[in-house]
Every structure is written in C-alpha cells, then in structure tokens.
Chain length 294, copies 2
C-alpha cells in the first residue's frame, strides 16, 4: 500500500487551500500514491479555536464540497481521504471524513465520534457527535479504518475498527501547542499523542497513519494568542515502529507499507486470540461507581 | 505514593529467591517504600519456558506461600504485590497476583486473565485464565489496578481497572528476547512493550508501573536455547511520561509518584468525559465478521 500524507499550514482562505491540496494530490499521485490523506478540516483554518455562529457558513453546501473533492480524486486517480465540515441540516453539523474512490465516487464517510472541547478547541459547539459508529470504509486500495483527531485517544475506537477488518488506521488531525507552555510540557504532549496512536498499532497489529496540520493560527477573539499546530505526522507499522515521521514543516510524502506485516505481526503476538470478551461488558459504562459493585 | 520495583535474576531455587526478595523488600521499606512490587512468578525460574507436568509441584501448598509472603509484608510493614503460582485444586492452576496489606493480611488477589502461549512461553499449558475479572484491590496505600504480563497488551484490561477507580496500574511481568533475534528485532519488541503500557497511562490518566525480570534462563528441554529477560522495568506518569526506567541489570528502586497528577491530567485531557459507550457493545465480540454486519 502506497499512502501519502499532506501536512500543510493554512494559507488564508478555502480557495487557496483547495488549490494547494489539489496540487499536492496531483504530485503525490504521479509519485505513485494510491491513497492520499489530508489533515483535519483541511479546507479551513481551525475555526474551532473560538465559538462564533459566523463559522457555520463554512459548512454551507456540503454537496458542492463533495463535488469538488470527487473531481480531485478522479483527476488524480487516487483514493482520497478528506476531512470536511458537514452541514446535515440547519443547526446540525458534523466533523466528517469523506473517502473518495479513484473514480470520484464516494467510498464511504465517517462522522467523528469523540468530540473534544477545551480552551481553543471548542468542538462541542460546532459538531454533533457522529451517529455512523465505527465502520471501516472499503476502497480499491484496502479497507480503511478512518477516525478523526480526538478519536485517537480512545483505544475502543481503534479496536472496533480492527475487529471489523480495517487494514490500516488513518487519523486526520489538528492538534498543537500554546506558545506559553514550557518546552517540557510541549514535548510531553507531543509524546503522549505519538504514544497513544502507536499503541493502537501494537494492540491491533495494524499500521497507523496520522496527518496533522502545521503553522500558527491566531485566535481573532483575543481570548487566546493562538495555536501552533505541531505537525509531526507519522506512519508506523503493525508493531508500532516508525516508518516515517514528519517535522513541524509542511510535507507531502508517499510511504510504502508492506501489508504482509499485519499477518506476520499478529501471528507472532496473537492478541486477538486471547481477548476475554465475556469480561468486557462494563466497557459500556461511563464509569463504574463503587456503590454499584457486587 | 512511594512505590518500589524489584527487578531480579533467578538465583537457582525458591529458597534463595525468597531470601533475595525479602531482603530487598526490607531495604526498600527502610528507604521509605509504601508499596513493593515483585516481578512475575518471582519465587521461580520462568518454568513456562517448556511444558512439563513436573512443574506443577511448584504450585504446591498455596497456603504456605501466602503465609510466607504475609510474614514478609508484615515484618517490613509494606503493601506487597506478589506473583504466585496458585494451585486451586488438582489439575487447576492460576497465575495469581496476591496483594498483602502492611499488617500481613491479604488485601486482594488477581488471577491473570489473558494467558499467552507461544514458543518459550507455554502458559496455556499451566494456567487457567482468571475468573475474578478486572477488579482493583483496595489497600492502605491506594486502590491498585494489578494486572499481569500478557494483560499489558490489552487496552480493555487497563480501561476496566481505571473505570473502577484504580489509581495506578501495576504489571508484574516476565518477558525477554531470544538471542538469535537481530538487535533491530529486539529493540522493536522492547519498544512495542514500553509503548503499549505507556499508552494505558495516557488513555486512562493514571501512572503505570511495570516490573520485569532479568537474566538468561536456559530451556532444559533443549527445544530453545533459552530466554534473556529484558528487564527495563519502568514507571510512567499519567501522561505516559517516564518517571523511572531500569536497564537490563538487577535493580531495587523506590519511586515517588505525585498522585495529584491523575486529576491534573484528566482535567486537561478529559477522555473519560467523551467515551461513546453506546457504540462499544461490539467490543464483546472476538471478531466482527463481514457477513454479520448490517
């Protein structure tokens, strides 16, 4: 599987972002990419940095978005993983990854299931949690376990995708630092983020691709200075080993993944053989209070 | 919480191992340890390296084992996490972690739930999978999420302990390399092992302590040369950051953990707030076959 990562900075408006992404996809296709993964909400600045009803206009005309990215996928002849702001009806929006086949048809979509909300990342204001569950998307290049950003912190999401046969986990994401944090704090956060995603590869014996944005984006509301998106997009193999790791610069990179690694890894460390599913029912609880215990 | 790790090599017989461990516990208590964690099956060589009914005698007289380690805990005045070969009745054995209070009473026990079986680690021959579920053990030093070795590869086990209020995850373990593997392969395995356990800290916002054995143990059956246990016991904080990391030498080490880190970390990254439990039911399946899907 030849999969490409596009890690970009926001260039100022949707038109220029579309142009920049499309040109990258075309180049990567010529370099042999079968799948191209774009970062979370790649058409826009990361508007969730503050809460403003004005931003809902960015979700207008989902059909037009689909038509545009369908055309890009078809022209470049790649399976394309996009991340779009979906208006489902007035007052109901999702953070939605749409996967296009190389012929431009929609292979499937995934609506972000776990929605964050913390200072500078006000996603619960904008996005209704997804209602499509954790379903891999079948494409001509493989069965893709597409999840989005905050999902990466939840082992349950990765596991469900793998149990349904996902051959790779793909995380478009938008995560960054606040400049006022210490270097030590920044490194700790980055390291947590890399570790949890690599662990999904280890636990499930599948490769993982994570694509983040870069660059500083100001908070126009003045509450925060802004977010410095930390890039560091990466690909790891089915033992969690790095196959590629980006810096904090923009990158467009094709990575070849030997898909035999899934079977090889799972045969050596057969975790799927040994799960104690009859004891997992309580994973469906938010918390298990002491007073409820036997 | 001041928790101590005892990473030892097998010294030849149970008597000398008991002596070596007891002396370490006494020293660590004097250094201020409130909890001492021993490695998996610390009374014995790692006998699961081959299959022999002779080894079942090592499980004889569980009551005597309990009495011995109770005495050690009481004399040193520490909460003691042991890992013992439990004979429950003839032909029924478990790999059981018993936690003793500082007064020598049994605080609780945990029977290893996920049982491995691969060349050199023939645990399915020796141990029936635990039937006590994933229940933290309350002690005077905190609520301990004690799991054992192979459990470390299963995010479900860590999650259930954390959902039940475990304040720390503790893994007595016995894992090592085959000398014939390449250095690259060895590093990859070690790195996977560290990564998956650190990820349980990240996902659940709790510190993790893992205690492994060291030294080379020969396979007397002649099928394998033997296992070189890789040590590298470690402690990480609730963001997965290293607080301590051992080498491949024997170590006895007290580590202080600031337990405020749990609340601090979970308030910053509140993953427990956002789990989509209504979509987690299928975690109770071994696999989700395509033909069963909606």
């Amino acid at each position: 599987m030849r999969i490409a990562l596009v890690q970009h900075a926001f260039s100022g408006d949707t038109r220029s972002m579309r142009e920049k992404s499309s040109e990258a996809i075309e180049r990567l296709s010529k370099e042999g990419a079968e799948i191209v993964v774009l970062q979370e909400l790649h058409e826009n600045r990361y508007f969730c940095i503050n809460e403003s009803t004005d931003n809902f206009r960015l979700a207008d005309d989902f059909d037009e978005k689909l038509a545009f990215w369908s055309g890009v996928a078809k022209r470049s002849g790649v399976v394309l993983v996009t991340s779009l702001f979906e208006k489902r009806t007035a007052g109901l929006y999702h953070n939605t990854a749409v996967v296009f086949e190389r012929d431009g048809s929609v292979a499937g979509k995934y609506r972000k299931m776990h929605i964050p909300d913390d200072p500078g990342f006000y996603e619960k204001f904008y996005f209704t949690p997804g209602d499509l569950g954790f379903e891999p998307i079948d494409t001509s290049a493989g069965r893709l376990g597409v999840l989005v950003c905050w999902d990466q912190w939840f082992p349950e999401a990765a596991r469900l995708m793998a149990l349904k046969g996902a051959e790779i986990l793909i995380y478009p994401t938008a995560i960054g630092w606040f400049d006022e944090d210490s270097d030590e704090e920044k490194q700790k956060q980055l390291d947590s983020w890399v570790t949890i995603q690599r662990s999904h590869a280890v636990a499930n014996g599948v490769p993982v691709v994570s694509v983040n944005r870069v660059g500083f984006e100001r908070d126009d509301s003045g509450v925060l200075d802004g977010i410095r998106f930390w890039g560091n997009s990466f690909v790891c193999g089915s033992a969690g080993e790095f196959l590629f790791r980006a810096s904090t610069d923009e990158i467009e990179q094709v990575i070849e993944i030997d898909m035999d690694m899934i079977k090889n890894q799972r045969d050596i460390w057969p975790f799927f053989r040994d799960r104690r599913v009859e004891y997992y029912e309580e994973l469906q609880k938010i918390y298990i209070d002491r007073c409820e215990e036997k």
